[in-house]
Structures are given as C-alpha cells and as structure tokens.
C-alpha cells in the first residue's frame, strides 16, 4: 500500500482524491472497483457537444495557474478541421510551492488517463501525451505501468468498449525547465525543440502540437473531468462558488504544523485553511506573509489575508491570484528580503532567455538582491528593484516575466521597511552622498 505523504483532514471535500489511501490505489482493479472508466463509457454515448457542455456546466477552471474556463477552451477546438487533434497533459508541475499533480499521478493514474480519454472523445482526438516534469522521473514508471495495464485490459487502444472511439496514450519527459510548463514552450519541447514559447495567437486549441488542434490542460484539470461526467457538471459546480466549481488540491507549505496537500472546496476560508486544515502556525508565531498559489503571485500581508476565501474572485479583489494551488505561509520570523532573493534566484535560473526584459531583468534583480542580502545594498537599490520589476511587468514575451515581477513588486512595496532595516545593519560603509557603484564578484 502506498503511504500517504500527509494525514487527510476532515475538512476536505474528497472528489479527485477519493482513492488516495486505498490499497493499490494506482491499480486498474482498484480504479474499476471505485467507479473507474464509467465516465468514459458515458461520454461515448453522449454527443461531443454534450460532453463539452457538461464541462462548461461544471464551472471547472484550469488548475495550472491561469484559471481559464476549461469547457470554453475545449469549445475552441475546430472539430471539423481535417488535421488530427491531440490531448496534452501539462504535468510539468514546477511552480514553487506546488506539489499536487504528482500525487494525482502517483495515487490515481487511471483517473488522469480517463480524463484525457474524455477530452479526446469531446474533440475527436485519438492520441494524448503526458508531459512529465524531468525531476518526476519516478512518475513516468507509474504512468507507463498504468498505461500498459489499460492497453492490456482494453481500456486504451482501438475501438474501445465496442465503440468507434480509439485512444492512444504516451508519456514524455521534460528536461528540467520551469518554462516548459508554459503551454507553448511545452509543445515546442514535446516536439523535440528548444523550450521557448511560441507566438500566440494562435492558441494551442487551434494550432498546438505539430501544428494541430490541441487540448492542453493541467493534470488536476483532466482529473476533475471523470467525476464531472460521471456525476454531472452541476454537482461539481455546486461544490464550489458561483463562478468556480469543484475543489482544488491545495498544497500547504511553510510555517505550518500540518503541511500537506488537501482537497478543499473552492471558496474555503483562508483563515480556516491555515489554522484548522494546516494546523496553525508553529510556536505561537504570527502570520506575516502569504503566497496564495505559487511564487508567481503577489504576496499578501497578514492584514490583507483577513476575511479572504480561496477562490478566484476573492483573490482578485485582494490584487493577487489563486494561481497553482501552492500556498506558502510565512511567520513573523521570515526575512522578506531573503524571500525576494529566493524567488528571484528561481526566476533568473528559469528564465528561458528568449526575451530581453525577463532575461536581463531577472539576472540584474538577482544580483542586486544578492548584494543587498550580503549587506552591500544602497538606498537607491530599493527604488531600483521596484522600478526594474515594473519595467519587466507586462512587457515580456510570456508570463514568466510577470511571474518574476509581481511577487518582487509586492515585497518591496509591502515590506519596504525590511529593506531599509537591512541598510541600517550594512556591514560595508557606503559614502552617503556618493553614487559610486558598489561592486562585488557577481554570480
């Protein structure tokens, strides 16, 4: 039996994770014994429009980070196009703080396969690719095993369940690039090219893998589809809030007593999530800062968190995003300048280098922040950090540049006093009136 990484919480709404913890949860038998491959049979009986409408009715929004309505995306696929169509699963899960897709694949790989098949049925795609993050190598074996089992027992392949529906499924591994989680860079990488984004439009739904119409969704998004088709879109929608249906696998990390991945209904109160699901902040410390959904989101202060719920609108009102489900809780011992540096080191390392503002901006910011943390910051640096981040924002080729700029801007604006405090304990004395550069061997 697979060991769970964390104890489930009674506050969870377990739809996608309902098989987690069952004996042999990844096996086809366990899957079949728990409503497995029921939804695909149902989808085969339905018209394609009905399948898509059911997904629309579920108010399912993409779980990869951007939160685009899934049913609408599927509707963009030109089904009458003579080209083959493809299903691509984004299993590149690399957003810092996010670790949910791996569990969905580890504990319940057939649910993902079935989700892909239903998508295939909806848009006439006959093949699907699971693009798995390079560092998740062990998951490739698990997925490959599940796929092989499905083929063996007639759940993948030609003329499934006696119908004219056929579907093939393949895994493909990334090579360790965060940027390859961006959908168009993922497609380039899948095609064997350098992982840089494509010019959009056209979007993958119209021109995707090998220039063919392609549905590309996050693992969790596909995993939500079998329950939606099985139990109806309305039931799924009812679990969440009006404009966002269902649950989200929320990855709680940071200063918490009970970190882990929990499936929470959309609209779950933030405060309750930290204190009850996550078991509260250790040692009686207080909340200082909060990342709602991966490091790409603007960071919230404790005061800003008050009264928020975990859904798209609530987060948008707080000028941040629900993002990828990677929640990071930081207590009052956290050094926010170091947080800014840690985040920028990630983006500077992961910038694909295609466009100027992100390529040069992230590297420059990393250097300034490193120097700052090393006690060699200047007063001008504080404004410069904010200004450079603003100069990246909205001007890069893909959203990675924004993802680097947004948290940085939020940190310098909301925690400016911490930067100033750093100057006070500067170890190197800097002439006050001088604008002379302060150099140090860079990275």
């Amino acid at each position: 039996m697979t060991k769970l990484y964390n104890e489930p919480s009674p506050l969870e709404t377990r739809v996608l994770t309902k098989r987690f913890g069952l004996p042999n949860s990844a096996s086809l038998d366990t899957y079949l014994a728990t409503d497995g491959y029921v939804a695909i049979r149902k989808a085969i009986e339905m018209t394609q429009d009905d399948v898509i409408n059911e997904v629309k009715a579920s108010n399912l929004r993409g779980r990869g980070g951007a939160g685009f309505p899934t049913g609408m995306k599927w509707g963009f696929v030109p089904r009458s196009s003579p080209k083959p169509k493809y299903i691509v699963v984004n299993a590149d899960e690399s957003e810092p703080g996010t670790c949910k897709d791996r569990l969905l694949m580890e504990y319940d790989p057939h649910q993902l396969i079935e989700g892909m098949m239903i998508a295939g049925r909806a848009v006439d795609a006959k093949a699907g690719y699971i693009y798995i993050r390079g560092e998740y190598r062990y998951l490739i074996d698990i997925m490959d095993k599940a796929i092989a089992e499905a083929y063996q027992r007639g759940y993948l392949g030609k003329n499934l369940f006696g119908s004219d529906f056929s579907f093939d499924c393949y895994t493909h591994t990334g090579a360790g690039a965060y940027e390859c989680g961006e959908e168009s860079a993922l497609l380039e990488s899948l095609e064997g090219k350098r992982g840089v984004p494509r010019i959009r439009p056209p979007f993958p739904a119209v021109v995707g893998a090998w220039q063919c119409p392609t549905i590309l969704n996050n693992v969790e998004t596909f995993c939500a589809v079998p329950p939606i088709i099985r139990d109806g879109g309305a039931a799924f929608a009812a679990l969440g809030v009006p404009k966002a249906g269902g649950t989200r696998l929320t990855c709680l990390s940071g200063h918490l007593n009970k970190p882990g991945v929990y499936e929470l209904a959309l609209g779950f109160p933030l405060d309750k999530m930290i204190n009850e699901v996550g078991g509260g902040i250790p040692n009686g410390r207080k909340l200082k800062a909060f990342i709602p959904g991966g490091s790409s989101c603007p960071i919230l202060t404790a005061a800003e968190c008050e009264g928020l719920t975990m859904d798209y609108d609530s987060m948008a009102n707080a000028k941040t995003m629900l993002g990828s489900g990677g929640v990071v809780v930081m207590d009052d011992t956290t050094d926010m300048v170091k947080v800014a540096l840690r985040i920028m080191r990630f983006y500077a390392h992961e910038s694909c280098g295609w466009c100027i503002p992100c390529r040069e901006g992230t590297a420059w910011l990393r250097k300034i922040l490193t120097r700052f943390v090393d006690g060699m910051g200047t007063k001008q640096d504080i404004n410069l950090i904010g200004d450079l981040a603003h100069n990246m924002l909205g001007r890069t080729f893909c959203p990675l540049g924004d993802a680097a700029a947004l948290p940085t801007i939020s940190i310098v604006e909301k925690f400016r006093d911490e930067f100033e405090a750093y100057l006070a304990r500067t170890t190197v004395s800097i002439p006050v009136q001088s604008d002379l550069p302060v150099l140090q061997p860079g990275m």
Binding site: I356, Q380, N391, T396, F397
Partner: protein, 692 residues
C-alpha cells in the same frame, strides 16, 4: 482581392491588406517602430520587445512585429509609456553588454548604438559585474563575441531559413543563453557571412575585416562580384586604395541581401603577393620585368609581323573580363589581326537555347523570376554550391510564396528538403526523368527551368520542346560559370558568331585546338588559363598573355601584361540570366592596367587606332549599345547601378553551336577557377576542412 483593413496609427488613417503586421502598416505611412528581432522575410520572434506599441482597448503594450492589424484598431507608437518601455528595454540590454564601441567593428553602423542614441537613457543604473564570455573563432571567416550579442536570433534564422544550412542555434538558457554553432565549437557551413551581415551589433565579425578599420573611414564602391555568373552586387569598402571588406550595404543589386563567401570575402586575391606588377618579356629563356613601353613595342612588333606575314594567330578571351574588353578583343582579332581563331571557355549551351527559343517571347528568366514564379525546375546542377544566389532565390521563393520546386539531379541537393519532387538520375536520364513530371508541371501556371552543362545541343532542343508542349509560359536559364561567361558569348568570342549572335560565316579553331594542335604561330590570351593543370602547349607559338598572376599559361608566355582585376576597372558584365550590370573601379593595383587599356595601347602601337576605335569603357559600351543586338539598353539604369536583361536574338542562329565544347568547371562554394587559387580566404576554408 480581399478588402483592405483600415486602422489609425499615431492619428493617421492607413489602409492595408488583412494580415499585415502593425509594424509594416506603420512603415507604410513613414512611422518607424524600432525593432531588433523583426527582420522582413524571416520568421517572427517577438523576442526583443523593442517594438511595443499602445493599442486602444488592449490592457498592455503589444508587440507591433507580431500583431496583425484589425479594422478600426487605434495604435500609438510614441507615448510616454512607450518611451519608458523602450528606454528600459535598452537599459536591460546594456547591462551585460561590454560597451566596447570604440574598438567594435560595428561602431558607427550598429543598430544598438543607433537605438540607444534615439531611445536610450543617458546614464546607466547598472553597477553589478557584467557577465563575460571569451571571444570564439568558429571558422576562418566567422568570429563570435558573445557579450555583444543581443540575442535577436537573426543569424540563426538567416542561416536556417535564408541559406538552408541551419548551422547556428542557441545553447544554455536565461542570461547565459548563447548563440552557438550546431557543431558545438566550430562551423562547417557555407561560410557565406550572411549571419555576420545581418547581425545588428558587432557580435559576429568576419576574419577578413575585423579590427581593420572604422566604417566611416571607408569609401563604398558598388560593383559586381567577379567570381560566379550570378552577378551579385558587392559593395567594396575602400580605404587608402585598399579593399577592406565586401558587403551589400544598399541591397540594390539583383542579389538583394545575398552574398556568398566569394562575393563577400574572396576579393582578397587582388593583393596576393604573387600579383604581377610589371610587364614581363622572355629574355634568354627567362621572363624578365620590363617597362610597359618595351613590352608594348615588342608585342606590337610581333603581332604586326605575324599579321603581315599571314601567320596563323589564335586569340583566347576571358570569362571574367568586361563586355567592353571582350567586344574590343574580338574586334581587334577580327579586324586588327585578321584572324577568326577566337574562342573562350564555354560553360553552358546558351547558343542552342537561344536558337531553340527562336520566335518565343519572354522566355529567358531573370534573377527575380526565380523568386517570383510559382514553379521552378532545377535540372542537372547543384545550385547551392555552384550558383549560390540562384539557390538563395529559389529558397526564398519557397518560403515566401510556397513555390513548387522540382529537382532532377545526379546527387542529393539542398533543394530536396523542400522540393515538391526530387529525382535522382545521371546526365543521360535527365530528360526522361523530367518526362515523369509532365503531369505535375503541366498543372503549374508558369514555370522556370534552370539547367546545367549536361543539357546541351539536342538535349536543349528537346527540353525546349518539352517546355513548349506543356502549354504554359516557360522561362529558361542556361547555367554558365563565371562573372562574364555569358557576356563572352554575347560579345562573339567564338569563331562562328559575331557579337549579338550574328553568324560570322567563317570557321576557326576552338580554344582547345589552339592550345593543343601546335598549328599556330601566335597565341594571344586574355585572362584565361587554358594550360591549367599543366597540359603542354602544342607547337612553338609566340604567346602573349594578359594576367594577374604567373599562371601555368603565363609561365609559358613570351610576353605577359599585368592585368587589372574586375575590382580595378570600369565596364559592364552580363550575368547568367543575361542581366547587364556595371563594374566600378574600387582600387588601383600597382603596375597593372585594365585589359581594355592594354589592348588599346597595343592597337595604338600597331597604328590601328583609327580602325579599331577608342578604348575607354564608356565609348566601347556606347558602340556595343549601338551595334550589338539586344544591348541597346537604357544607359541611366546601368549607370546608376541597376540591371537590365539583354534580349540578344529572336530568330534562328544558323551555326554549329559546338555543344561538344561546352563544359562547366563545376566550381563549388570555395573554388573559383584559377582566380580562386589566389584567394587566401577560400584556401583557408578548404584547408580548415581538411583538418577537421
């Protein structure tokens, strides 16, 4: 025709076809949107972010280089937000840039300098250590200085898309991303320098030019490449009577932006240390330097004596000398020396083609046709190696117009990759192979057929018959080798034809016969090396040679005149497609004279000036325009550096075209007949290949 889309740019309305990009729509009304990575004709990148514009109803700035126009769109290109964006992008760009403009080859003509001058900040806020990478040499021609690179990917695209070579790529990621050869540490490519030329900054530099001069110290002379027949315009950068570089600054030639290694770098033969700088006369069995006066007097005396004695005199002309020189040479031979033994190395069967096309109009393709016509047949030639410009044109045609290309060749060729059909066969099977394409070709609305030297004589007639039977407009190109191979034929450097393909009514010896038969008393050779490879001269003729180097032929001569190269004279040449263009003198090589002047001085010395006429290039060209059919072209077009296609005949040419004499030298990218042996750059590439 689709409806035009109407939009507003900076308050002005512009109408453009749907699908037009905002950056191009702006250009149409004279609004320049700054750009690095956008390059007309290459694929889109949207990487540099310099072209950001404001579009009403769009939440953020948009890249003008990838945004298609839409009806009613309102675009602004000069606002405070845009100014700030441009300034910050340049600031980012300069963070790791070495700012070594004072020593950079590109200084003064660098797009980054210009951009920073117009849009950049006055001061830098960057105080960190710059990322440094050492300079690398990738080939004898190509050097790369990574810190100067702005990663616009133009080089990668021109090499892949433009050249069809794909030798360049990107390694690493993020701020340490770097352009790199796909062979990791060196290039094994065409060495065309297109990547260097297209680089907006000084990141790619050429072994031939780097650190030699500042651009503003040069004078720029647009002339025609002397190497192959494709007629590329190369602009020679000259400083103190020295050629510093070749490029195509104004892109005004038939070649547009294209040059191969030979047009760009292989001008270097002109200052090879073995260049002849003084006339030579054989004394006591040895060639000794003498004055021009002595050499001319000696040559004139021998020629006069031979003519007056009715001796047999042979004349061999050149495939690189100008039309004026060739015209004057045949006139001198026929009228002055009274001989019809006149010939040159024939490399393509132009005569049979013109004869077979008798009565047809518009049947000779231009260089532009290869880019514009919907279908191209390549018959028996490896264009990418032997005719680089034509190959470039066809690739661009495929990329931009989805032209169908049919390659019928003996070996695999670069065209195969995108060809609608590629057929392998030997020379004998070419027409049969073409026949198998009949149905496809008949469905093409128009066609250009380019054929090599394996198609000659009857085969040319059959080819034209095949073309005519398709019932569609078909144009032809008979491939020839060198910069004025075509002009030599047009100017009557053959026994059977006078200038303009008028039958001479007389017979004469071919070049091969003149050299080998031993039947001649005198042999006069201008810029040709028939003894190449060491074949012996038959008999004991008295030999006079015009040459740049002591070639095998010059070594066998009794008198050698040191001749100017094409880059040291004025005149015209005729390209493979019959396009006439102007040669312009860039430098003067010490001690040499243009062949036309040498001939003129000799004519004067022989007292024939009144009979043969004046010998300045413009006077001779005037005579050509007045007397040679097909050459009565508008002077202003030629004189301003343009190209005009000749239409030499439109009627039967009732002579034996001697297809048996047609033989191409099949020069590749790095060879150029005898001349190529004196180019260091070509030799270094060839040697480099042997080592790797």
């Amino acid at each position: 025709m689709a409806e035009l889309v109407s939009l507003t740019i900076d308050g002005r309305t512009v109408q453009v076809p749907p699908g037009t990009l905002v950056i191009d729509a702006a250009k149409k009304i004279g609004v320049e949107v700054p750009a690095f990575c956008y390059y007309e004709g290459l694929s889109l990148q949207a990487a540099c972010r310099m072209c950001l514009v404001e579009v009403e109803k769009m939440p953020k700035l948009m890249a003008g280089c990838t945004l298609p126009v839409a009806e009613g769109m309102v675009v602004r290109t000069e606002t405070p937000t845009i100014a700030k964006a441009r300034k910050s992008t340049l600031e980012f760009l300069l963070t790791n840039h070495p700012l070594d403009c004072p020593v950079c080859d590109k200084g003064g003509e660098c797009e980054l300098q210009d951009m920073v001058f117009r849009y950049g900040a006055g001061e830098s806020r960057y105080t960190e250590i710059k990322h440094h990478v050492d300079e690398k040499q990738w080939s004898p021609v190509v050097y790369f200085d990574a810190p100067r690179c702005i990663l616009c990917y133009r080089c990668v695209r021109i090499c892949d898309e433009g050249m069809g070579v794909g030798a360049l790529g990107v390694i690493n990621r993020g701020v340490v991303s770097e352009i790199a050869p796909n062979k990791t540490d060196h290039l094994e490519c065409d060495e065309c320098g297109m990547c260097i030329d297209i680089c907006p900054v000084g990141a790619l530099t050429s072994g031939a030019y780097r650190y030699k001069t500042r651009p503003w110290e040069m004078q720029h002379v647009g002339t025609i490449c002397t190497h192959c027949s494709n007629g590329c315009k190369t602009t020679l950068g000259v400083r103190n009577n020295e050629i510093m570089r070749g490029d195509n600054r104004d892109q005004s030639g038939v070649n547009g932006e294209f040059l191969c290694i030979k047009g760009r770098y292989a001008f270097d033969f002109y200052h090879h240390q073995e260049r002849l700088q003084s006339p030579l006369v054989r004394k006591n069995g040895k060639l000794e330097p003498v004055s021009w006066k002595e050499a001319l007097e000696a040559a004139a005396a021998r020629l006069k004596a031979a003519r007056d004695a009715g001796s047999k005199i042979g004349v061999i002309g050149s495939t690189r000398t100008s039309n004026e020189e060739n015209f004057y040479l045949q006139k001198f031979a026929r009228l002055g020396l009274g001989t019809n033994h006149i010939d040159h190395h024939r490399t393509g069967d132009v005569v049979t083609l013109l004869d077979a096309l008798s009565g047809q109009k518009d049947a000779l393709a231009t260089t532009a046709d290869l880019y514009e016509k919907p279908a191209i047949v390549v018959l028996g030639a490896d264009l990418a190696l032997e005719h680089p410009l034509l190959s470039f044109q066809i690739r661009a045609n495929f990329r931009h117009h989805q032209a169908r290309v049919y390659a019928v060749t003996e070996k695999p060729v670069r065209e195969d990759k995108y060809a609608a059909a590629a057929i392998r066969c030997d020379a004998a099977g070419e027409l049969a192979a073409l026949e198998t394409l009949r149905e496809k070709l008949a469905n093409e609305p128009e066609l250009v057929i380019v054929f090599g030297d394996t198609v000659k004589g009857d085969a040319v007639r059959k080819l034209v018959a095949f073309g005519s039977s398709l019932g569609k407009p078909v144009k032809y190109v008979a491939l020839v080798d060198y910069s004025n191979s075509r002009g030599a034929m047009d100017m009557g450097l053959v026994p059977e034809l006078l200038p303009g393909y008028r039958p001479s009514g007389q017979t004469g010896m071919s070049a091969g016969e003149m050299v080998a038969s031993g039947d001649l008393d005198m042999l006069y050779i201008v810029g040709a090396n028939p003894l190449e490879g060491g074949q012996p001269l038959g008999g004991k003729p008295f030999v006079i040679v015009h040459e740049m180097f002591l070639t095998e032929t010059a070594q066998a001569a009794d008198i050698v005149f040191p001749a100017s190269s094409a880059y040291e004279k004025n005149g015209t040449v005729t390209s493979v497609t019959g396009e006439v263009q102007q040669l312009k003198k860039a430098v003067q090589a010490m001690g040499t004279k243009p062949d036309l002047e040498i001939l003129g001085l000799l004519v004067r010395e022989m007292g024939l000036a009144a009979q043969i006429g004046p010998w300045t290039p413009d006077k001779v060209f005037q005579e050509i325009r007045e007397t040679v059919p097909g050459y009565n072209m508008p002077l202003p077009v030629i004189a301003t550096g343009g190209a005009v296609q000749t239409a030499p005949v439109n009627g039967r040419i009732e002579v034996d075209a001697r297809p048996d004499l047609v033989r191409s030298s099949r020069d590749g990218l790095f060879t150029s007949g005898t001349l190529g042996r004196y180019s260091k750059v070509l030799n270094s590439v060839v040697e480099g290949r042997h080592h790797t």
